[in-house]
């Protein structure tokens, strides 16, 4: 049991973070809050990838004559790409929120739903 916890707790913390973000996305009604949730959700996944790459006793993946073991560089590369995707999504979502706020004057899901059903 102890070994299980010692070997896996890193993964469990990322799952915990991910679920905090996931909860914010699906339970919060405020449009900006959901975007904050998405950011937490995604970077928790990034943390998971980076923890895959760690090797006990490894050094940073840059060629170095004294190095015995290197950390795995591939997840780093994947996450660099994923971070760009994440900021792109956030920016596009913010553009949508700004337009929604302009057209509906509201930023809460249920208020917008009301305005949609009453509106022209």
């Amino acid at each position: 049991m102890i070994e299980l916890i010692a070997g896996k707790y890193n993964y469990w913390i990322y799952i915990c973070l991910m679920m905090i973000g996931f909860y914010a996305i699906i339970a919060k009604g405020n449009l900006i809050k959901k975007i904050i949730g998405i950011n937490i959700f995604q970077s928790a996944v990034f943390l998971f990838y980076i923890s895959i790459s760690k090797v006990r006793g490894g050094t940073a993946p840059i060629l170095w004559e004294n190095a015995v073991l290197y950390d795995n560089p591939l997840p780093h590369v994947l996450i660099l790409t994923a971070i760009v995707v994440s900021v792109s999504t956030t920016a596009l979502a913010l553009a949508l929120v700004i337009r929604i706020r302009k057209e509906f004057g509201a930023m809460e899901e249920d208020r917008i739903a009301k305005l949609r059903s009453d509106g022209p």
Binding site: G7, V55, I62, L63, L96, R111
Partner: protein
């Protein structure tokens, strides 16, 4: 080890605070703190390139974009829908409907717990954290480490993979951010006065 554990703990605290805070500006600042702590953890994990990017993007650009957006949208999260917008006849029914409260809290919580449980289930027979012999570190990755410097002459493996072996992904990545820019223009229109 103790440092990393503290940082991971702080990470959870910041994430929870960002989600709980009603003041959106505060929540954004918490998100920024979350990103900065993430940067430190990645530095500890030797992912220097990723840490640098997270510091610039997560803590920098994303925070600025969120604050700029808040400047145009208002920065308070509201609890109940204001009564003026609800037709008065419906008001008592809409104010404290128990079924709505269930949908609002219990259902998302259930979904989150189920997803989390499935994820934890998946970790049970994963290779232990930082085990050198895990499959992820053996097959493709080991070839990158032995070959990339002699073949390409690039000493930073991450750069060699990013622009060499997986250069097409990076091309896709620049197209993604370009798509976001064009998409924002399509949604918001050109600058200047309407």
């Amino acid at each position: 080890m103790a440092l990393k554990f503290t940082l991971l703990f702080l990470l959870v605290v910041c994430a929870a605070a960002a989600v709980r805070m009603k003041d959106l500006l505060g929540a954004v600042i918490m998100l920024c703190a979350y990103s900065l702590i993430m940067t430190l953890i990645w530095t500890l994990l030797n992912a220097v390139d990723v840490a640098l990017t997270e510091a610039a993007v997560g803590a920098g650009i994303v925070t600025v974009l969120l604050i700029a957006a808040l400047g145009r949208t208002g920065s308070r999260e509201e609890d109940p829908p204001p009564s003026s917008l609800i037709p008065s006849a419906k008001q008592p029914a809409d104010r404290h409907p128990s079924s709505l409260a269930v949908v609002r809290c219990a259902l998302p919580l259930l979904a989150v717990l189920l997803t989390g449980a499935l994820l934890v289930y998946g970790t049970l027979d994963m290779p232990d954290y930082s085990a050198p012999a895990s499959p992820a570190n053996l097959h493709v990755a080991s070839r990158y480490i032995t070959d990339s410097a002699p073949v390409t002459g690039i000493v930073n493996f991450v750069t060699a993979i990013l622009t060499g072996y997986r250069g097409f992904d990076t091309f896709g990545e620049t197209v993604v951010i370009f798509a976001a820019a064009v998409g924002a223009l399509l949604i918001l229109g050109k600058g200047g006065k309407k």
